[in-house]
Structures are given as C-alpha cells and as structure tokens.
C-alpha cells in the first residue's frame, strides 16, 4: 500500500527535484570581474567578535578585520623590531620626529580620508588616545599606554605625543596599540556604551577596505577601497566566514569553500591540507606559548604559601620530571618547539641556548627524597608528614591539546611518585579560578605581542599580581634584570640581559614551559604574494592578489 502511495507521489516529487536543480544550476549569477584587482578571499574564521570597534575588543577576528578597516599611525615591520623607530612602516603618519627626549611628533598623510569623505586629522589622534585611556571604555589596551602622558594636536595634521619617561619602546607604545578612530562619528557616543554602540557593528574606517555587511553568526564582508591613499588593495573582496569549531573551518578550506585558514593547529590538519592539491601550506612564527603554572600561594588562603609549590626545590624537581621534547614530538610533531622560557617564537629574545632545567628523573627523585618527600606508606605516591605529594591540574575542556597534555603530564609525574588529578572544566571556570588563585596548577596559554617587555612583565613580575601573574611568582633578582633589559636601547644590549633574566626564572621553575606553536596556514594556491607577519597574519592582506588567469567563479562575482 505504501509503495502504491509512493508511486503516486513520485511524479510530483521528481518535478520538484528537477525544479530545485534547475533553480540552483540555472539562476546562479555569473560575475564579470576579470581584471587585476578582482578576487574574493574567504577566511574560515573560528568564533565571532562582539564588536569591530578597536579599543573595545581584543578578539582575534576583530583584530584581523580591524587591520583592514582602521589604520595605525605606523606599524612594525617584518623584522618585528620594537626598539627605536627605524624598522617601523609609515601608515597614517607620513613622517615623524623627536622633539626632545620625551616628545614625539607625527605628521599625518594629508591624503588620508575616512570612508565617509572626512579627512583624517590630528584631532582624531588626540580623540583616540583619550578614548583608549578612558576607564569608561574599558579598553584592554589601556594598561599598555600608561607611559604616555598626553596626546595633543599642534595643527590639523600634526599630533604630539608626550611621554612620562624615556625608554626604548616609546615609539612602539605610541603606534602599536591604537588604531586611529573617527572623532566626528564617535564623539557623540557615550564612552561607557562603546561596547554596544552600533558603530562597532557598522564601522567607518580609513583603511584599505570598507565595511559592507555583518551577518550575525555567519560572516563579515569587506570590499576594497579603490581610492585608498596607500594604493589599491590587490583583492577586491574579503569575507570572514564564521564557524564555531576548527574542524569545520579546516574542512571548508579543504573542500574549496574557503580560501584561508591561518592556523591549522594539529598535525592531522596540516597533513590533510598538504594533500589537497589546491592548497599551499605556509609556516610563520607563532605568538603563543603554553605552560604548566605552579601556584605558589595556597588556593584556600592566598596570604599563605602553597603547601607544595611554595618550595622552589619541589618545583624544580617536578619541572625536571617532564620530558618536554618528547611530549612536543608525540603531541605536535613538527608544529611546535619547546620554549626556552616564557616566550613564543615571535619574540626576538628566543634563544634555544638559554639555560633550562634538564629532563632528569633521577635528579628529580633525589631532590624529592632529600626534601622528605618519600613513599612512606608504599602506596606509590610520595608523602611528607602524612601529606601526599598530590595536586590538581586545571585545564579547559575546550582545548583538546591542553587536555591531551594534562594526561601526558599526569603520567610523567606518576613515574616519580607524584599524583596529579586532572580538573577539566569550562574556560570561564578556568578563568575565574586562575584569577582568584583557587588552583594548584593550571595549563595556560599566553599570547605575546612583538615586545617582550609588556608580556613578560605582566605575567611573571610583581606588576602582574592581581593581573596575569596567576601563580604569583616573585624574584627580586629576576625583576631587576627585567627592568634593565626593558631599558636597554638596542637589541644587542638587551639580549644578554633578557637571557640572564630568563635563566633566573627558569632556575626558579615557576612553571613548566611546554610548547610554543609554529603557525601553519593553508591558503588557496591561486592567491599570489602571500605574506604573513607573525604578530598579525592579516596585517599584509592588502598586498595579496589573485592574478587574472587564476580567477575562479567566486572571484568574478559582481554584486
């Protein structure tokens, strides 16, 4: 009976399928763009920003899109040198000069325009600084601007920065953290409402691309500004396509439904991307390192020392019990390196010859024995005064890699008679517990900007107490060396100081520095002139291009 019913419905069903197919095949609009500045580049992005207003977001995608919409006065070059000003590339500022030791004067490019036609002026620069440093805006970049006393306008195209003190990265601080904002559009918006301001969802910038549309939970689209004063961008249209997970993002690139995935993260993804004939895989320095942080304060009462990790020798023993090289090899293959300290491969102070604690389980066991941590009751776990050598490793459930590492660490600690329990919890809980100090150990990741000064000071000195020095590590000798390194005027002078500082820290073992990822990106082979700047993969997107003879259907589409 059912088959009879199906037989009767078959003709209409067939007609429907034919119609849908005809619609899909026949109604597609064929584009007409065939020149040198055509092209559509789809980035398979993970996550979606809340706003595109630069001071209100530290989100990675917002930053990538912001690179195309809002210019800085100048930017770091491929050398990533943050000392002095000689390696910086001019953007909004045509030129600059020092007017005394604490005053920096920028001359804006008179050709620069906001995309609504208004000229970019020094008033915009002054407004931007005031906004970034206003507590009501709650900008994550505010602490990084603390050494700039004021920004004023001398005339419509001249902005004057005055600093509180003299130091080698004055120029870097002046230009790197702020994207200049349109004062005429943002002045009327109350500062404590910037995070929810409509401007953040429909921004007007001065960069190489104009904002077109934002489809929530789907995509952001930009189109090249053909009148951009620093030269027309090579690719006409940029689309960030949002996916909630890495695997789908990688699949989209492999299935030729997206053109770029800037981080492949796992060896498996890299192999799959390499097998896809239409993809090229690029390597560039990563900006993230991951470590096991030892909390030196009691999780129950932060005024008291931690019963295990306050002891430097125990920390050293635990660090020596971890075979970091083997862990990297087994979990990440060629995609990561063992960091020589708290740094990513992005930092110029990276030096594999920096002295680190060796992998030496025999020595680790000797240290623990010498300090009274022995297996008195024969249960396989060392103990002292009735307290077992046992602790928890806090790890976010969202990170497969960190969870995998937690298991590997648990096993390595077990081998020397140390019991580690894994607490895999949501990211929000990891964040709350690390900030409040209610943890024993945690596997954390830190992202570096190109300067070692701010990141290392924030995470590993007393300045980071209550901030991101969650383990509350403190060594006055380390701080003294960091202070000297930060004030060194050249890389040659700074390098040995940084080295000495990192070696001091390594000897104290405030954590185990596990891996620093190299970034591997998959890009469609039709894209030419692909360049990645390690601190921001999208910084040079405007120079990428697609030659006319390599255009595919989606490149030619006209709206």
């Amino acid at each position: 009976m059912l088959s009879a019913m199906l037989r009767r419905s078959a003709p209409p069903l067939t007609v429907f399928i034919v119609l849908v197919t005809a619609v899909l095949a026949g109604c597609e609009r064929r584009g007409g763009c065939t020149g040198a500045n055509c092209g559509t580049l789809i980035n398979a992005a993970i996550g979606e920003p809340a706003t595109l207003l630069p001071p209100s977001s530290e989100d990675i995608v917002a930053s990538d899109v912001g690179e195309q919409l809002f210019l800085k006065l100048a930017d770091v070059g491929m050398s990533e040198n943050t000392l002095g000003d000689e390696d910086f590339q001019a953007l909004l500022a045509q030129k600059w000069e020092w007017d005394g030791p604490l005053t920096l004067v920028f001359h804006l490019d008179p050709r620069a325009r906001w995309q609504d036609g208004h000229p970019v002026t020094a008033a915009d620069v002054e407004f931007t600084f005031n906004a970034y440093t206003d507590s009501a805006v709650a900008s994550p970049y505010r602490p990084k601007l603390r050494r700039i006393a004021s920004v004023t306008q001398r005339d419509s195209l001249t902005a004057v920065f005055r600093f509180r003190e003299r130091y080698p990265e004055m120029f870097y601080d002046a230009v790197y953290h702020m994207r200049i904002l349109p004062a005429h559009l943002l002045r009327p918006v109350p500062r404590d409402q910037w995070r929810t301001a409509p401007f953040g969802r429909q921004p007007v910038g001065d960069g190489p691309y104009r904002f077109v549309r934002w489809q929530p939970a789907q995509s952001i689209e930009l189109v090249a500004d053909s009148t951009f004063f620093l030269g027309r961008p090579g690719i006409r249209r940029l689309i960030w396509r949002f996916t909630p997970n890495l695997q789908v993002a990688v699949q989209q690139v492999i299935a030729d439904q997206a053109d770029v995935r800037e981080q492949l993260v796992t060896p498996e993804n890299v192999n799959r991307a390499r097998e896809a004939k239409h993809l090229a895989v690029y390597t560039y320095g990563g900006s993230v390192y991951t470590f096991l942080s030892f909390n030196q304060r009691s999780p129950d009462d932060s005024t008291k020392p931690h019963p295990i990790f306050a002891d430097r020798e125990v920390r050293r023993a635990l660090a020596m019990a971890v075979d970091r090289a083997s862990l990297v090899k087994s979990a990440l293959g060629e995609l990561a390196k063992v960091p020589p300290g708290p740094m990513s491969a992005l930092l110029w102070i990276w030096d594999p010859d920096i002295r680190q604690l060796p992998y030496d389980t025999a020595q680790a066991a000797r240290i623990l024995n010498a300090h009274g941590w022995r297996d008195h009751d024969g249960d396989g776990v060392r103990d002292k005064n009735g307290q077992p050598l046992a602790f928890h490793i806090l790890v976010p459930t969202t990170s497969v890699l960190r969870k995998q590492y937690a298991l590997l660490l648990q096993e390595q600690f077990r081998a020397i008679g140390v019991h580690a329990e894994i607490d895999a919890v949501e990211g929000a809980i990891v964040s709350q517990r690390t900030k409040s100090g209610t943890f024993d150990t945690a596997i954390l990741s830190r992202s570096n900007d190109p300067s070692p000064s701010s990141g290392i000071a924030q995470s590993w000195t007393r300045a980071g107490f209550g901030g991101s020095n969650f383990g509350r590590y403190y060594n006055p000798e380390f701080e003294r060396l960091v202070d000297r390194a930060v004030t060194a005027t050249t890389r040659e002078r700074a390098r040995p100081l940084w080295r000495a500082a990192i070696e001091t820290l390594n000897a104290d073992a405030p954590g185990v520095f596990l891996y620093a990822l190299d970034n591997l990106a998959a890009v469609h082979k039709r894209v030419d002139n692909v360049q990645f700047r390690p601190d921001s993969w999208a910084a040079l997107l405007r120079t990428w291009r697609i030659p006319p003879d390599r255009l595919i259907d989606r490149d030619r589409v006209e709206r």
Binding site: Q251, A255, Q257, Q432
Partner: protein, 328 residues
C-alpha cells in the same frame, strides 16, 4: 476542553515559564565562572562588570531583570554587544528553517515507515526496516553529522561544509538562486536530525499501529468487508495517531532548542548554538532569554499536543471537560 480548561492551562504555563526563568537566572549567576576572558586585565573586568550591573547583588540584579522583562526588555548581550532581542530574532528564522525541515523529514518518513512495517508485520520488509531503523536510532547524532560532513561535504563536495548560505552570493537572500542555496545548506543538518528522529518515529508508529490492529472495531471493519486501505487509513491510522501527536508535541521544542550539537557541527546560526555559546561565555542575559524562549516553546508544544489529542480523540475532550467540574 473548554475555555476554562484552556485558561487553567495558560495560567499554569505562565507559572512554569516564570519558575524556569527564575531557576535559570539564579543558577547561571551562582555557577562558577564569570563573563570575563582569561587574559583580560582584572581592572578592565571590574569596569565591565560595573557597566553591565554585575557588581550588584543577585537579588537586585534579579529584580532589575524582572522589571526590564515586564517592559519587554531582555537586556544587552555581553558577548554580542547587541540587544538580546535582536540577537535572538536573528537566529529564529534559521532555527525554524532547520527544525521545520527536520520535523518534516522525521514525521513523513517515520510515519510512512511505521505504517509500512505495520501492514507487513513479521514479513521480510518489516524485519529489514526494523533492523535498519534500530541501527539508525542507535547512531550518535554527532557522529552521523561528522560522517555526513566528511563524505558529502569534504570528499564528494555535493553539499556545503557548514553554514546557512553561500557567503559570496547569498549573504542576503535576494534571488531565487539564494532561496535554493538556503535549502541546499539545510540538507545535511536537517537530514541528520530528521533521519535519526524518523527512525524513532517509525518504531513508535509501528507499535501504535499494531496495538490498534487488535481492537474490536478494526476486526469489525474487516469483517464487514471494508477495503484494507480504508481500514488502515481510516480506522487504524487515526487511532494510532495519538502517540504520534504526543511525540510531535515533545519533538518540536527539542528540535527548536535542542539541536545544539548539530548546529555546532554544521556552523548553523540557530538558537541552539547561540544558547551554547552564551553558556560558555557566561552571557547571563542571553542565557536567561534563551531559557525563557525554550520553556515557552516546550509549554506551547505540550499545550498544542493536548489540543490536537483532543481533536483526534473525542474521549479525551470529554475527560478534560469533566475534569473541570467541581466534585461534591
């Protein structure tokens, strides 16, 4: 099933929704974790907490929430930076699109298979279909989704890998092609949800049809010489529809709010994915609002199922009416 019955159900429904919202509001606020990313400076976090009113006590926040809710204001999403109403409104068309397609597949296929099995009970087609539906029903939905994505999206490239539309041509539906494109993007997620649902529906429907098949009125109809097709459709199916309607009432809200994994895997911009992200980022206003909508849909689904049951089975109508008569 008169107006009084409906009024009583509506009042009970509002009370249930209010209780759910209160429960979720308290639960999410006392749950560990705060809406502040790991690497954000604590001073910045404190300022944001002040701006979003999170520095006030929970009872005060709750009172302010209720007052705002009474004015139709669901608040601002912390993570999205837009009014919650706008955020949710953006997901509803996609949620209905996916849920509608999945429900259609679930019930058309499930009903057809269930009937087909019941009329051939214990014969080869019934045995084969029974095992096939059991196999499909046993599949973890997320696994099936990943498999379909890999085979039909990545390898064969017949269907899009995630998303709800072609971002190049159809970020806005402005042509017939884009209507087709939207449908094309719906196929894999709807098929994943609908297929597993249909396997369950088929098994329910088969059992219901077989239960009814032994009833006196079915035997009488056959004895009177009523044609088999009429017996099946008029006598057996209509009475077996009661379990189907109940299942529909439960499945509808589940598909609307419970397709979290499928929306996650297929990057579908629906309400399940939104709610999941909101929970992870501790976006309190959005979590509470999605709970409000989910509970409303569940209550409405059940109410709808009860009404449909009353229409399908007059005996239930009588029972419901007499229920309202006060007993001495």
């Amino acid at each position: 099933m008169g107006a009084a019955w409906l009024l009583r159900r509506l009042v009970a429904s509002i009370a249930i929704i209010f209780a759910v919202v209160t429960f979720v509001f308290i639960l999410i606020h006392v749950a560990p974790g705060r809406p502040c990313p790991e690497n954000l400076d604590p001073a910045v976090c404190n300022e944001l907490n002040r701006q979003f009113g999170l520095d006030r006590s929970i009872p005060e926040q709750y009172w302010r929430y209720l007052v705002a809710l009474a004015h139709g204001n669901l608040g601002y999403s912390f993570a999205d930076g837009r009014p919650v109403r706008a955020v949710i409104a953006g997901t509803i068309p996609f949620t209905f699109q996916l849920a509608g397609a999945a429900l259609l597949l679930d019930f058309l296929l499930g009903l057809g298979l269930g009937i087909s099995q019941a009329v051939r009970v214990n014969r080869l087609p019934d045995v084969v279909l029974g095992n096939v539906t059991l196999f499909i029903y046993s599949l973890p939905t997320f696994w099936l989704a990943l498999l379909l994505l890999l085979v039909f999206g990545e390898k064969l490239r017949w269907f899009p890998v995630g998303g709800a539309s072609d971002p190049v041509l159809c970020s806005v539906v402005n042509s017939l092609y884009c209507v087709g494109d939207r449908l094309w993007h719906t196929v894999l997620p709807a098929f994943t949800l609908g297929l597993v649902g249909a396997a369950g529906t088929a098994r329910f429907q088969r059992a219901a049809m077989l239960e009814v098949a032994t009833q006196d009125y079915v035997r009488t109809a056959r004895a009177k010489g009523v044609p088999e097709r009429r017996v099946v459709l008029r006598h057996q199916l209509r009475n077996a529809l009661l379990s189907f309607i109940t299942r529909f009432g439960l499945a509808f809200p589940f598909l609307l709010t419970g397709a979290v994994l499928i929306e996650w895997i297929f990057a579908w911009p629906g309400m399940g994915r939104l709610a999941f992200n909101a929970i992870l980022s501790r976006d309190y206003p959005l979590v509470t609002a999605t709970a409000l909508i989910a509970s409303t849909v569940v209550v409405a689904g059940n109410l709808l199922a009860d009404i449909l049951l009353g229409i399908a089975d007059p005996r239930l109508r009588v029972r419901a009416d007499t229920d309202l008569v006060p007993t001495a």
